[in-house]
Symmetry: C2
Subunit: 413 residues, 2 copies
C-alpha cells in the first residue's frame, strides 16, 4: 500500500522527503468505505445513524441567534472562548483537578492536535517513544516531521526504555481502548509510565478519543488525572499533553477536538495552529457548544454504548465461529476495534488483504500500525460502523478470503 | 515582536528549531482586535456586519435536511464531493477552461492550502521565490518547514531570477491586490512570471483570496487562466497551484478554501491534509454549498465592494490630510489594505509601533512582510474592518503617534 514510484516522482521540483516514506492507506480505506458492495471492517468510523442530525439543526439556529456574526468570524486561534471554557470545565470534572482556560487549545478534531504536537516538538530524526502497535493516524501526523521511533511495549523496568525516554521528545500512548488493539492499559502500567516519563523529564502525550466508549464498565483514571493528583495547586503545568474529541460522542463532522497541556506549550501549539489554518470553524465550535449545553450528549452516549456493545458482541461471535481456527483475540472492553492475531507467525495479513478485497471485505493489516512495517501477523476489525448482520456477512467473506489465501500460499496453520 | 527567550525555552525536551525563528505577531493582532479601546488597522478582517447570518442559518437547516448524517460525517479528505464539483465549475467559469473535480482540493481556508503546499514541497533549506513584500501568513505557514527565500521584485529579465527559479521548489505570488501592498500585478508581469516559471520548470503558487474585492473595475485574467490558455485539452496539468477562498466573499468562520492544481499534486496535498486533520468540517462545507447554490453571493459581493470602496476612500482621505507629510502610497484598486511608505528611509515603523499602541491605534509594520525582517520603512493599514469615522479616528491617533515617535527619535523628515 505504499505510494507507487509514479505517484512520488515529478518532472517539476521534487516533493518533500517524507512523501517517499508515505502510504495512502487511510485514503484507500475512506474510498473503500464509499463502495456499497464492500463490507468495510477497515475504517474507524462511528455508526452514522446515531448522529444527532435534528439536534444539530436546532443547535445551529440557536448558535447563530446567540452569536450572530461572531459565529462567522475568524476566531481566536485558541478557539471560541465560551467553548474553550466549557471544555476546561469538562476536563476539570473528568480528570480530578481544576484546569484553566489557558490549559486548553481547541483543534480541528484530535487529529490536528497530533499534527500540532509534531510541529512544535519534532525536527527530522527526533525520537518518539510510542505505544506499540501504534495508532496509524499518529504515525501519519508525525511522518511529515520525519521522527525516529522507539516502540513502547510496557517493559517498564527495562533500563533501555528509560534511556530512550531521556532522549525522546515525547512518549505517546492511548491508554483507553487503544487503537488498534482495543485494550485498556492497566492502572499500574499507567502509573509506571507516568513515573518513568517524569523521571526522564519528557512530555507524555495521552490520546484519549475513545473515553466515551466504555462498553464494559469504567475505563479508570487517566494518566492526566494521575499526574494532576500530584499537582493540586496552581495552574496545571505537568508533562501530560492530553487529547480529547467530540468525534466519538457527538459527531466527527463538527471536527471539534482539544488539547490539554501546560499554558506555555498551549501557546506554542496555538502558534503552530495559526500557521496551519489561522483558526478552526467558529461556526462548528458555536454549534458544538449549543449541543453540549443542551445536555443531550449523555443520552446519546448511552445509546451509542448500547449499540456498540451489541455490535462488538456480534463481531466476536461471528469471528469465534468462522475465524477462530486461525486467529485469537481478547474481547475489547470498549472503543471501536477487535485486534485479531494469527495463531501462526507465518500468517501474512498484508497478503491476506488482496484476497479479502476479492471477497468484497476490507480490514486493516497490522503492518500499518508498526513504524517499521514489520508486524504482519494481525489485523484490526472495526465493529462500530456496521449493523450486526453486516458484520456477520463481513466475517463470512473474511473466512473465504483466509481459505483462498491459505490455499494459494505455503503458510502452515 | 519575536517570542521571548522565556517563551521558547523549557526544562522539558526542546521545541522544534523553527520556533526560535518565529514570532507571535498574528496572535498579538488578533488579541488587539478584541480590545475595544484600540482602533485596529492591523488585522486583515472583513466587515463583520456584512456576514450573512440569517442566510447561513437557513442554509444550515437546508444542509441538514438535504445531507442528514453525511453532513456530520468524516468526509472524503478532498472535501464534500458536491462542493468540490461546485468549486470546479466556479473555477471553470472564472479561469477560462474546464477544471475537473480531480483538480480541486477543499481546505480549511486558503491558509491551510499554504500549509499543505509547504508540507508537500518543502524540506529544510529548500528555496522559495516569493513576491516581495510577502504575505505574512505564507511566511508563517512555511516557517515550520524552514525554507530559504529569494525575493521576487519583478526584475523579470534578471538572469539571477531565472537561476533562482531553477533551484526553487516554487514561486509564490498574490497578483490581485497583493497583501500587503494592495497592488494589482500588471498583466504583462503576470505573463512574464509564468513564462519564467515554465522555463525554469518550477511550480507557481498563485494566491488569490482578494479576487472578489474588485473596488475599481476588473482585476484582469489570473495566471492560472494564462497558463490554462496554453493547455486547452485534457485535464489541467500545468504548473500553477491556485488558492481560492470564501473568506472574503461569504464569511471566514466557515473556513472554506480550495486549491486548484494538477491531479497528482492534488492527491499528495490531500495526503498531507489527511495527515493534518483527516478532513475539514463536512458541516461547514455542506452549509457553504447551500449558500452558494442560493445565489446570494453575488448580491453580497456587490454590497461588500460598495462598503469597502467607501472605507478605502475614507482611509485615503484621512491619510492624505494627516499622514501625507511623512508617507506616500498608491490608492489600492481592490483588496483590503493601504500600503504606506515613509518618505524618509530612516523612518522605522517597528519603532513607531509602540508609540501607536500608546495612542490606542494598531497597524502592521513592514518588517513582518520581509523574510529577513529588514524592510522597516512602511506600514500596512487595513480599511475593511472599521467604519469611515473609526478609520478617520485611527488616522488621527496615528498622526499623534508619528509626532511622538519623531520627537523621541533623531529621524530627519
Amino acid at each position: 500500500m505504499s505510494l507507487s514510484q509514479a505517484d512520488v516522482t515529478t518532472e517539476r521540483p521534487p516533493y518533500a522527503a517524507w512523501i517517499r516514506s508515505s502510504n495512502n492507506i487511510t485514503q484507500q480505506f475512506l474510498s473503500i468505505g464509499g463502495q456499497p458492495d464492500i463490507v468495510s471492517l477497515a475504517g474507524g468510523l462511528p455508526a452514522a445513524e446515531l448522529y444527532p442530525v435534528e439536534a444539530i439543526k436546532q443547535a445551529s439556529a440557536r448558535a447563530l441567534d446567540r452569536w450572530g456574526a461572531t459565529a462567522l468570524e475568524y476566531g481566536p486561534v485558541e478557539g471560541l472562548p465560551a467553548l474553550r471554557a466549557a471544555i476546561a470545565a469538562r476536563m476539570s470534572r473528568e480528570h480530578g483537578r481544576r484546569f484553566e482556560v489557558e490549559n486548553i487549545l481547541l483543534t480541528t478534531g484530535a487529529m490536528q492536535g497530533l499534527d500540532l504536537i509534531g510541529k512544535v516538538l519534532i525536527d527530522p530524526g527526533d525520537l518518539i517513544v510510542a505505544q506499540f502497535p501504534t495508532y496509524l493516524g499518529a504515525l501519519d501526523a508525525w511522518r511529515t516531521r520525519q521522527p525516529a521511533y522507539r516502540k513502547l511495549t510496557w517493559d517498564l523496568d527495562d533500563p533501555d526504555l528509560l534511556a530512550a525516554m531521556r532522549k525522546a521528545k515525547f512518549v505517546y500512548c492511548v491508554p483507553n481502548y487503544s487503537n488498534p488493539t482495543g485494550a485498556l492499559v492497566p492502572q499500574n502500567a499507567r502509573g509506571g509510565l507516568l513515573s518513568r516519563a517524569v523521571e526522564a523529564g519528557t512530555w507524555l502525550v495521552e490520546d484519549d478519543p475513545y473515553l466515551p466508549l466504555q462498553l464494559d464498565g469504567a475505563a479508570g483514571a487517566s494518566i492526566l488525572a494521575a499526574d494532576a493528583a500530584t499537582r493540586r495547586h496552581g495552574t496545571y503545568d505537568g508533562p501530560v499533553v492530553y487529547l480529547g474529541t467530540l468525534s466519538k460522542s457527538v459527531a466527527p463532522g463538527l471536527r471539534v477536538g482539544w488539547i490539554v497541556a501546560e499554558p506555555k506549550l498551549i501557546q506554542l501549539l496555538a502558534l503552530a495552529k495559526q500557521c496551519s489554518d489561522l483558526s478552526s470553524s467558529m461556526f462548528s465550535q458555536a454549534v458544538a457548544l449549543e449541543y453540549l449545553e443542551s445536555g443531550a450528549e449523555a443520552e446519546l452516549t448511552a445509546r451509542t454504548i448500547a449499540c456498540y456493545r451489541e455490535r462488538r458482541d456480534a463481531l466476536c461471535a461471528a469471528a469465534q465461529a468462522h475465524l477462530g481456527e486461525w486467529f485469537e483475540w481478547e474481547v475489547p472492553p470498549g472503543g471501536m476495534f477487535l485486534w485479531a492475531r494469527a495463531k501462526s507467525r507465518d500468517f501474512d495479513t498484508n497478503a491476506l488483504y488482496s484476497f479479502a478485497l476479492q471477497e468484497k471485505v476490507a480490514f486493516v493489516p497490522s503492518s500499518v500500525f508498526d513504524p517499521d512495517g514489520a508486524l504482519t501477523s494481525a489485523m484490526r476489525l472495526n465493529f462500530t460502523r456496521n449493523a450486526p448482520d453486516r458484520l456477520a456477512e463481513g466475517v463470512l467473506r473474511l473466512r473465504r478470503a483466509v481459505q483462498a489465501y491459505l490455499a494459494a500460499s505455503k503458510v502452515r496453520v
